[in-house]
């Protein structure tokens, strides 16, 4: 039985490399089909996300499983890349290391943002795709089903997923939700059209927000961002009017001076009738004068306030890490023991069959030589042979069982096969 993973992740490969060897869903489907053709006896699952590309292969017979070099060659061929280049950027894991790694990935402990829920669904999707293309077999079925179970267990038994650690998610889910009960009827003003603004809008959409207005010095960029979220873009001159109408402001410009001062806000204040205004100043240097936060009905949060929460949440997740690791270690051990029991079963059966066959042959030969023997003596001889076989087999089987429980059976199993000529 062989289980291996060959691939790369954000830990060992740059974005450029990851981009080169990543598989789109269609490519992944095609790759799995090609793998089946090239290695018909092996099982395979391909996990490709923006942070990792990992190809899991397995085979009951070690010799049927593609080697490290063959997989590298396959990836290089598929993406028309240089084999050496791929070889230098991928890692190989085998045996229980693969299982432990897959469990860690599915439980989101290996992610760039530890605890993010997305990777769990990506693992499920990869498994579903492999099932759809008939690329999975007994080993990969068991392994991925166990990974899904373990990820759920980690999620239920630890708080590793509970606290948000990205600034936009903390801003929206932990802060804005303390001010607003619902977001679908709120006017949200986005000042600036950068990545941070976009990410924040994504979280706001997740909370149900629909009314976005984007104001940016570069109107074209404002329009582009507004289009993505079915919002409206307004020219920079309309900023004051937009502030009057806004319930929430997300400011992420690269301005070197505050774009909203206390004096400016005081002028707009009467038109707002002290309506609650939630402000997120995600820019550095700050876009909004901190004194604006002292005005009635204004709740201003800067990137420092959010960063503080993110750090404290990150620490809270770290505190949960040992608990999650313990679960993964325990589950890996259990999984490997189960797999080993499954793998050793046929060998033990064959060994016993061989021993019984020898015993029967020798017994027959002895009986033929002895001639007429009374039933009692024959029964005693039979039992004696049985005891002999059992006593001879007991120590090796016991050792095999112990090694199976310790998740490292292959050496002994191979030795048994060779010593007793237990080939298929």
């Amino acid at each position: 039985m062989k289980l291996q993973m060959i691939g790369c992740s954000h830990h060992n490969a740059t974005v450029a490399v990851r981009e080169q060897i990543a598989f789109s869903p269609d490519q992944a489907q095609e790759a799995l089909k090609q793998l089946r053709v090239r290695f018909p006896e092996s099982e395979s699952v391909l996990l490709s996300t923006c942070n990792r590309t990992e190809l899991y292969t397995a085979a009951v017979d070690d010799n049927s499983c593609p080697s490290h070099h063959e997989i590298v060659q396959f990836i290089a061929d598929f993406h028309h890349l240089d084999t050496e280049e791929v070889f230098d950027n991928v890692l190989e894991r085998t045996g229980d290391d693969v299982v432990r790694h897959l469990f860690t990935v599915a439980a989101s402990l290996d992610s760039m943002v530890v605890g993010e829920a997305q990777v769990f669904s990506q693992v499920k999707q990869a498994y579903d795709l492999a099932t759809k293309t008939n690329s999975v077999g007994t080993l990969t079925h068991s392994c991925f089903q166990a990974a899904i179970r373990v990820a759920k267990r980690v999620s239920n038994e630890t708080g590793i997923h509970k606290k948000r650690i990205s600034i936009p998610s903390v801003a929206v889910c932990d802060f804005a939700s303390n001010v607003f009960d619902r977001f679908d009827d709120k006017n949200i003003l986005i000042i600036g059209a950068g990545e941070m603004a976009e990410e924040t809008v994504q979280y706001l959409q997740g909370e149900g927000a629909t009314r976005f207005t984007v104001v940016n010095r570069n109107f074209e960029r404002a329009e582009n961002l507004a289009q993505k979220f079915q919002g409206s873009a307004k020219p920079w001159d309309a900023l004051s009017d937009c502030i009057v109408d806004a319930d929430m402001i997300v400011s992420t410009t690269g301005a070197t001076e505050p774009i909203l001062t206390e004096a400016m806000y005081k002028q707009l204040e009467p038109k707002r009738f002290q309506r609650t205004l939630f402000m997120l100043d995600l820019a550095m240097p700050r876009d909004i004068d901190p004194l604006v936060g002292n005005r009635v009905g204004v709740y201003l949060f800067t990137i420092d306030d959010l960063q503080e929460v993110c750090n404290s949440n990150r620490k809270a997740r770290e505190r949960e890490w040992p608990k999650a690791e313990k679960i993964i270690e325990e589950e890996t051990h259990r999984f490997m023991a189960e797999m080993n029991h499954r793998a050793t079963g046929p060998i033990i059966k064959r060994l016993k069959q061989r021993a019984n066959q020898l015993k029967s042959e020798e017994l027959q030969r002895l009986m033929n030589k002895l001639g007429e023997v009374d039933p009692k003596t024959e029964d005693e001889i039979n039992r004696s042979f049985d005891r002999l076989v059992n006593k001879l087999l007991h120590p090796p089987l016991e050792s095999l069982r112990d090694e199976t429980d310790a998740s490292s059976h292959s050496g002994l199993l191979d030795a048994l096969k060779r010593l007793f000529h237990l080939h298929d």
């Binding site: 303390n178 009960d181 002290q274």
Partner: protein, 305 residues
């Protein structure tokens, strides 16, 4: 046996629920939320059975036949509202604010346990029932408005001072608290208006109207204040927002506390009957030896017949 349930049974349940709410400040284990809800639910079941046992003779005495029942029903309404809110928002520490008020109201009601019931004629009169019931629900709504007002001010302060890291204390959003404040303001005004006007209708056709009764005139002032606050809130836009509406609900509660203070400690017809006999004046009069002592000592006034 329904009669076997005492005030202590459900008050203790609410007390344990409050302790569990306090525990949640330090550890946010799911089990403490579940236990807190279970204790409140158990308390409300006992509370309901207690009220049913008390109202065994509902046809003879009417639904609210004494100040004791009036207070117990008010506490029941508050607890029911709390339980519904706590189930819909289990993450929030609502119990920390509402349960103490419930316990105080039960305590105050238990304290006036010796009070004689309202007059039979009074309690069987439909106007009297409307008068008592609307004032009771109005009182509950004002009290709930007070709680949401307090929560609004705390939540606003926490947001202004970036104190959200205190994980133990979770409160509803400002928007929810603000809209709840507005609703309580409007609903309490309507209920107190119904209570007040039904009280006036009760007295119509009688020889004299107790204008000088402190509870009557203070209730009138409370009503006028509520109307003014509601009109202010509806007409003046900034008053619909945040802190202003919260302050209005706090002021409402202070007025209510004044009325209840006059009711219990003032020389009011509403607070004193004669010789332990149910008052038959057509309103919700009752007798309490404690109040009678005060009344005798201070003015030697005879309760109205």
């Amino acid at each position: 046996m329904l009669s076997g349930i005492s005030v202590i049974c459900f008050a203790a349940s609410y007390g344990v629920a409050l302790v569990l709410e306090v525990v949640r400040l330090f550890t946010r284990a799911k089990i403490s939320v579940i236990l807190s809800l279970c204790f409140t639910a158990a308390g409300i079941v006992a509370h309901t059975l207690y009220l049913l046992a008390e109202q065994g003779d509902i046809l003879g005495t009417g639904t609210v036949s004494s100040w004791h029942q009036w207070g117990m029903m008010a506490a029941w309404f508050m607890t029911s509202t709390y339980l519904l809110l706590a189930i819909s928002q289990p993450q929030n520490s609502l119990g920390l604010f509402i349960l103490p008020l419930i316990l105080v109201s039960i305590g105050a009601t238990y304290w006036s346990d010796q009070v004689a019931p309202f007059g039979t004629d009074a309690t069987k009169n439909p106007w009297s029932q409307i008068h008592g019931f609307s004032l009771m629900t109005g009182t509950v709504v004002v009290a709930l408005g007070f709680i949401t007002g307090i929560m609004y001010l705390i939540q606003s302060y926490r947001l202004k001072h970036k104190m959200l890291k205190q994980e133990g204390l979770k409160l509803p959003s400002l928007e929810w608290l603000q809209s709840s404040n507005r609703r309580t303001l409007i609903v309490s005004t309507a209920l107190i208006a119904v209570g007040l006007f039904s009280g006036i209708l009760l007295k119509l056709g009688k020889d004299s109207f107790p204008w000088t009764d402190p509870v009557v005139w203070s209730s009138g002032i409370l009503f006028l204040w509520l109307v003014a606050a509601t009109v202010f809130e509806l007409v003046y836009k900034p008053a619909r927002q945040g802190q202003k509406v919260a302050y209005l609900t706090l002021a409402n509660f202070l007025f209510l506390a004044l009325v209840l203070g006059l009711l219990f400690f003032g020389p009011s017809e509403h607070a004193s009957g004669k010789g332990g006999a149910p008052n038959e004046a057509g309103s919700v009069f009752y007798y309490d030896t404690f109040f009678q002592m005060i009344a005798d000592d201070s003015s030697n006034e005879e309760p109205s017949a």
